[in-house]
Amino acid sequence: MTPLADGEPLVRWSWIGDHTDELTTLTLHHLKLALLPILFGLIIAIPLGIMCVRWRWLYPPTLGIANIFYGLPSLALFMLFIPYFGIGSGGQADFTIILPLTLFSLSVLVPNVVDGLRSVPDPVRQAATAMGFGTLRRLVQVELPIAVPVVIAGARVAAVASISLVSVGVLIGNGGLGQLFIDGYSRDFTTPIIVSCVLIVVLALVSDGVLVTAQRLLTPWARTRRSNG
C-alpha cells in the first residue's frame, strides 16, 4: 500500500502540467463555494450585529447560538442540508455547501461586528451625538467605519476556515479542489493530494492577504498594531 516504497516520488511534477485545466476549473469552483458564504455572511451579520448593539438583550442568546455553530463539525452540517439541495456539484447542489458555511461565517462575523461597534470610544460617540448626528447618520458615518478593522479581522478568520472546509464536501461530490484528495487516495497516488493541499493553503493565504490589504486601504487612520491574525 505504500506507494513511496515502489519508487514513486511524492510529487510527480508532470502531472501538474497535464492537468492545468482541471486544476483551474476546480480552483474557481472552490473559490465560489468558499467565498460566497463570506459575502452572504457579511450582508447578514452587519444588520444583525447592529441590532444586537441597539437591543442589548438580543446579544447573549445570539452569541450563544453563534458559539454553538462555530463548534459544529462541518461534515455533519453539510449532511443535514442534503435533503434540501441534493448531492453533487453545480446548480442547486452547491447550496448544500454554501448555506452551512454561511451559518459558520455568521458565527464568526456577528460577534466581530458587535465587538467592532463596541470598540468605538465613548467620547467619540458622545461627541457625534452632541454635534447633532442623528442615530442612523452616526452609525453609517462614524461607528461602522471605525468598526471596519475588527470586522475584517473576523472576515479573515472566516475566509481561511471556509476555504479549508469546502474540501470536506468531496464526500458528497462537491469539494472543489478536495475532489483531488479522493482521486489520489483511491489510486494510491500522492501527487493530486499534495497539489490540492498546497493550492488550498495558497488560496487561503492569498485571501488573507487581500483582506489585510483591503483593511489597510479602507482605514488609513488606524495604526497597525500586531501583525498577526
Binding site: 467620547p123 467619540v124 461627541a127 454635534m131 447633532g132 448626528f133 462614524v142 471605525i146 487612520w221 495604526r223
Partner: protein
Amino acid sequence: MIKFDGVTKRYPDGTVAVDDLNLEIPSGQITVLVGPSGCGKTTSLRMINRMIDPTSGVITIDDEDIRKKDPADLRRGIGYVIQHAGLFPHRTIIDNIATVPYLLGWDKKKARATAMELMERVGLDLKMAKRYPFQLSGGQQQRVGVARALAADPPVMLMDEPFSAVDPIVRKSLQEEFLRLQSEMRKTIAFVTHDIDEAVKLGHRIAVFQVGGVLAQHATPDELLANPAEGFVREFLGGEKGLRRLRFNRELESMPDEDATGEVEAAER
C-alpha cells in the same frame, strides 16, 4: 443667555443629580460650574444640549425653551468640547474640524477654508490638516476639539473639563489661549471643572455646586474669594489657607504683564 428654571434631575433609583437649579448664564461671558464629583455640574451642562433631559423644570436659551427644537438641530447650534476630545479617529484633522459645517450642508470648500482659519486661531500648524488624530499629542487634540466646536460659529459653547486630561504646562497655555480667543469671540460659555484654580482663572462668574446637585454659591471670582458662603463653599476653596492662596494668585494674574496675553487678561478682569 442660558437660564435654568427650577430644574431637577432625579434618576429612577432615587439619586438626585440636580436639585431645583435656578441659574442664569449671561451672554458673551464664561460661567464656570465647579464642584466635587457627584455635585451635578456635568449633568447640568449636558441638560443644556439635551444629552440628558430634566425630570422637571425648564431650560431656555435666549428665552426659547430648548425642548421646542429637534434635539439634533439644537445641538448643531451649540459647540461641545469634552475631556478626551472625542475626535473622529477615521477622519483627518481638517475634516474633523469641519464636521458640523458638513452636517449643516455647507459648501465643502467653504467648510474647509473655515476649518483652516480656525486651525490658525487655535494655534495649530496648518501642516497638520491632513493628519489623523492618532498622530497628534493630547494638547494638540484638545485644540482640534475646540476648533471643531467653533467651526459653525455657534453662539453657545459647552465645555466639560476640556483641559483636565493634559499636563499642567500644556493646560496653562491652553487656558491662556482660550481666554484670548474668548476676548475676540465673546461666546456664551458654560465651563465645567473640578479645579477651583481653573475656575477662578477662567470664569467671569463661578457657580459652586455641592454633592446632591445643589447650587451653593453663584458669584464673580472676586466676590467669591472675598465672601465665600459658610460651610461647604469655604471648605471647597481650601479654608483660610486656600483662600489666601487663591487671592494671592489672582493678584499675581492681574498684575500688568509685558506681553500682549497678559494685558488682555488684565483688561478682562
